[in-house]
Symmetry: C2
Subunit: 217 residues, 2 copies
């Protein structure tokens, strides 16, 4: 019985890791699509978001089944409850990537000169996604805390991006407002991805320590 249960917990870890990888490649594709003005790459993100949503349901069903049939206690219960919560944040990362991709597809943007430093922002949040999932799979509290600490960097990058837009476009004549608003939304979506990795990391800490720390995003 315990053996089957352990196998199911391992499948849970593997599926979470798969979802994490899908999120990472979505974020990478988003920034490439944006920098190259390539709607084809953006289309791939849209497809991945569908897969991520499907996997969310798989994990939810897995967790609910484990809760119902195995009546787990202590650490196992914490790990399963944490997975049930984390999976929503992973799905929303897919969703935010999808929102970025849709802007690239419909708005024919080309931000190749990257005045807002969006590539850097994408790299940071991508690292945070990778680390938050690693922290879960390896039950690594230190790595989870590292993810939480990095969120300030992302918030600052969003504020910098907003200021930069005001600096570049504010008080100017004949402003391409649509372009400016779309860039702001993209920066915001990256910032939200950072927030979701913090939520994941906080649930990882709960799974390990049994204590819910800090604020939620």
């Amino acid at each position: 019985m315990r053996n089957r249960f352990d196998n199911e917990l391992q499948t849970l870890d593997e599926t979470m890791r798969e979802m994490g990888e899908l999120c990472e490649s979505s974020i990478s594709l988003c920034i490439e699509a944006l920098m190259d003005g390539n709607p084809k790459k953006a289309q791939e993100v849209v497809a991945k978001a569908v897969t991520i949503s499907r996997k969310e349901r798989e994990v939810e069903n897995m967790c609910l089944k484990l809760l119902m049939e195995q009546q787990p206690v202590a650490t196992d219960l914490r790990v399963i409850s944490a997975a049930l919560k984390m999976v929503s944040d992973l799905e929303r990362i897919g969703d935010q990537s999808n929102d970025i991709a849709e802007i690239v597809i419909t708005e024919n943007l080309s931000a190749a000169n990257d005045i807002l430093n969006l590539r850097r922002m994408a790299d940071v949040v991508n690292d945070m996604v990778t680390s938050s999932i690693e922290a879960f799979v390896n039950r690594d509290a230190q790595l989870a805390r590292h993810v939480i600490a990095r969120d300030d960097e992302v918030d600052e990058a969003f504020n910098d991006a907003k200021q930069k837009l005001i600096e570049v476009f504010g008080g100017k004549n004949n402003v391409n407002m649509e372009y400016a608003l779309n860039l702001l939304m993209i920066a915001k979506y990256f910032e939200r991805i950072g927030d979701h990795t913090v939520n994941i990391a906080q649930w990882v800490l709960f799974a390990i320590t049994g204590v819910r720390e800090g604020n939620t995003n």
Copy 2:
């Protein structure tokens, strides 16, 4: 034993309802603060967001304790799992309201003429919050489905707001970019609140029917 368990489930319902009411009054205060350019009302929203976060932890602890000590099955397990998920969406509604309030406080905005129809948007999402919590407390699937159906209205209102900004500011001279970007962010926060009520309604349906339907936001 069952009696104590029933009492605890009732406390759970009551706390969810309290959180819902805090969210509703936060949204109302946000739109009043914005329309009157009143940072004092916005400060109240900031204080409420702290209370909402604290209540989120209370509900989480309640749910985890019920899962651990009572090993619930069937409908009870579904209700508790749903509450554990929904509470994050409620907390994020508090968070989005807080984000709006912070813009009102720091940016000295006055959108009194309401060119973006934000008051209407606030009214709709406020109704959706109320209904989603009512649907949970009364286990009302029809009301939950009604909330989900209304989200298109909110998405459309956001797109209209964005188009309106482009229309009003695009191609103009000496644009107040900061003002435009802040209004867009506020519209986006209201739209996200709508998304969170849809997530809540979907979990209500799961609690009632045992089936997870539709996509997540």
